[in-house]
Symmetry: C2
Subunit: 233 residues, 2 copies
Amino acid sequence: MKTVLIYSGGLDSTVLLYHLLDAGHEPHALSIDYGQRHRCELAAAARICEASGVSHTKADLSAIRALLAGSSLTSPEIEVAEGHYTEETMKSTVVPNRNMIFLSLATGHALSIGAGQVAYAAHSGDHAIYPDCRNEFADAMATAMALADWKQVELSRPFVDWTKADIVRRGAELGVPFAETWSCYKGDKLHCGRCGTCIERREAFDLARVDDPTIYADDAPTVDQLRPNNWRL
Amino acid sequence: MKTVLIYSGGLDSTVLLYHLLDAGHEPHALSIDYGQRHRCELAAAARICEASGVSHTKADLSAIRALLAGSSLTSPEIEVAEGHYTEETMKSTVVPNRNMIFLSLATGHALSIGAGQVAYAAHSGDHAIYPDCRNEFADAMATAMALADWKQVELSRPFVDWTKADIVRRGAELGVPFAETWSCYKGDKLHCGRCGTCIERREAFDLARVDDPTIYADDAPTVDQLRPNNWRL
């Protein structure tokens, strides 16, 4: 089925891209520039789509930033916190209502290009911090998406009950080029290894027993140092 | 209550602005530039907000147009059809998923500025053409909006069962400056009086028995000529 994939160039949505290809769907990747500081993920998205022959649309909606103040991902004056995702400080990375905004744009794009499905890579590890990764939220959006137009658009979220380690395992099966994907919220040259998404990425490879090809910054903690009892920055 | 109002500068949302003020709410008007050809509505929105002392945010998201091809409102090469809204040709004015996109942006903005409510002026006259003006759609969105964040945002749609004539009557009670509002989809200097939204506007004043202060183009049909049995362009 023709499917609009909300595609960041990160690990989760890249595995979903390959997962859709493997299932015989025809993904159209949609990347949104919302003024994120880790905009290098968009370059990763473009490279991976080109290498895998998938059509890729990038929309520059960086003006959205003016509406969604208060997140460290879009406000240069707020620092990206370091430490595990479970920590209170990581809440600063929440971009207000990002998933609903992306799903609504992807649904409009699907209607425009005649795609019957929108897919996004929300997964269970996101729930503690991100309310809009919960299955209840996805269900409500699926209902709204089916009513938004006379043509129905389905919402596919195959990873919604998976952990990030499950996603890494699936990616390894599918031969996903993990080294090409980008996660780090800081958006420097290398993955910092210290922000929530770097730590989550590294732990997922460790839990999945899959070799992690990511090059982390020199001062990044080791996997052993990341274990909750050992955590010190 | 602090309320983000999706505000086009048109008749319906201007009456809603005054309706919210009358009910003691604190509206924050949000206008979206989505590359619409009748962009002059945004200037109307700014003028009306300034005159009524309401805070107004305009977001330039005209890059959205690249994602939502196929509507005469955003594609210069597709002409705006003339005639009643009930005609098949008016479907060309549907911008794919516009209301879901606007509601999701308004919800993000509400979370960002600490508003507990989002309001939009969908009304029953829109339903035949616009699926995303139906109450079922609004209900599904209200559910999704309540789940999108730990803080809940309510969806207010007081006109969803009203006709446009009901809205005009309410606007007359509230002293809405109708002449300042903009409806015409063609976006020329005067209201054309021939496109679906001009005809609907004019008929609503006629049905409401409220004086219509709009200045229509010289070649616009008269109200009598607009009655369905007399309709000729």
